[in-house]
Amino acid sequence: MIRPARQPLTVLLYLATALVVLRGTGTATEELPTFFVPPPPFSEGIFPCSECHADMEVNQKPRELTEHTEIAKSFKHSPQQRWCFDCHNPDNRDVLRLANGDLVTFEESYKLCGQCHGTIYRDWKAGVHGKRTGEWNGKKLYRLCVQCHNPHNPRFKAIAPMPPPDTPLLIHNQKHSGGSIRKNPLGKIE
């Protein structure tokens, strides 16, 4: 929804796979409930990464890339620009790697984000940052952080608003109600 170019397909995918259950592995100290999340919003054909990376030599050095150039060019996440391996796992590109060395799947990328964005992560787990759909007292579908934030350039993108309400009609209505005009529902009747 937030990355407009992929919208229609991704939305369909969400619907089709909305109820795939993905169990958080969790660490010993942290008790995570089971979150229902839509699948990661990969671009078509990019996953599994190992299709290319399995046979590639790993080059740990930050450098100008000849592949994934869009990502490298638009990369904008935190003041001290990061390198890919802050998040990606050099040894198996199909999973992400946490700072402590733990590996997590892309279905659990929220754990990666949660390392550096603790408060937001806590709010997200409570259903307050980000969004839930489904049942308020039953099954809930969460959204991954990356469904709303591009991990490489996470600032939330502006979108087009839907049309404003009809003004002329409003004025017409208010004539009926005794000539009162309000600027908005909270305005004084003038």
Binding site: H129, W136, G138
Partner: protein
């Protein structure tokens, strides 16, 4: 609070009974459906106020309504009448630090709740406010007609306003027909077949949240939502008042679904749940965020909470 509620309820039941016998009946005389031979017209004229009906009467009423809707819209409607569930008091939270003013909620609400497209009725209005000192205090002059290419616009934040589901609703107090009341789960509802269109409730509402059908409501046939609740999104009539019900037709299901506006919000600014459940996300908001309510000084005690998460 509980004990209070019960007293309140008892008292209301008594006064209402007396009132209806006296006043509403005579007011209704004006609108007797003279000339109509259709039994169902008469039946609905003498129909009791929704929450006074026996189960049999209720079934009859629903049956007749569905029949009339079928004639009018050539569509089969489901009209639910399920009541409040126990131990439930609905509350709503809106995170103003996330809302970007995109109005997706406005139109999802129109669609889900069968609001008239022309004349246009919107249960949700989104106000655009300047960031800074005055902020939330200058509500009266906020603009709701903004239309830039993209939102959010720099220097502004956005505040959607809809029925605040007051615990102490002024609209209910002024209704001479007792056609609007607060349910046990906290939702303020309207019986559209009992509303006489006097619009006192609109004048009494400090939030401009009630809307009047000046004309015959019009909805494109292919956009009709036929899964309805009697007190919620069933089609309305010219001359009656309507407003947000927290999507009563969704939230009272078992299990209960989120309101349409919550589900459509692309930034996840809208939160909904049971205020009596300490594990609900709405309780989390109340306990972890600094929340405020609109026009707190009026003592309407809304169950609609605004907050800034960051």
């Amino acid at each position: 609070m509980n004990a209070n509620n019960t007293d309140d309820k008892l008292e209301k039941t008594f006064t209402r009974r007396g009132f209806i016998k006296g006043t509403a009946a005579s007011a209704a005389v004006l609108a007797i459906p003279v000339g109509s031979t259709d039994a169902s017209v008469w039946q609905s004229f003498f129909q009791n106020n929704f929450h006074e009906m026996s189960p049999e009467e209720l079934q009859d009423t629903i049956h007749n309504l569905a029949k009339k809707y079928r004639e009018k819209y050539q569509a089969d409607f489901t009209i639910k009448t399920n009541g409040p569930r126990p131990d439930t008091l609905f509350g709503y939270g809106l995170d103003l630090s996330r809302c970007i003013g995109c109005r997706r909620c406005v139109y999802a609400c129109v669609r889900e709740n069968n609001q008239s497209r022309d004349p246009q009725i919107h249960w949700i209005s989104v106000l655009q406010l300047k960031k800074g000192e005055k902020g939330v205090s200058d509500l009266e002059n906020a603009n709701m007609y903004y239309a830039p290419d993209e939102v959010p616009e720099d220097g502004y934040f956005y505040m959607p306003v809809q029925c605040q589901q007051c615990e102490n609703p002024p609209c209910v107090k002024v209704c001479p027909a007792k056609a609007t009341w607060k349910e046990k789960d906290g939702i303020v509802v309207i019986d559209y077949n009992w509303c006489i269109g006097c619009r006192f409730c609109m004048a009494a509402c400090p939030y401009g949240a009630r809307h009047f059908n000046w004309g015959e409501p019009r909805i494109p046939k292919e956009e009709l939502v036929t899964e309805t609740h009697y007190l919620g999104n069933r089609p309305r009539y010219r001359g009656v008042v309507e407003k947000c019900t927290f999507c009563i037709q969704r939230v009272r299901d078992t299990p209960g679904r989120y309101p349409a506006c919550v589900e459509v919000c692309p930034v996840g600014a809208r939160k909904f749940g049971n205020l009596l459940d300490p594990k609900s996300e709405i309780r989390y908001c109340l306990e972890h965020k600094r929340v405020f309510r609109l026009k707190e000084e009026l003592n309407t005690s809304p169950k609609f909470f605004y907050f800034f998460a960051t």
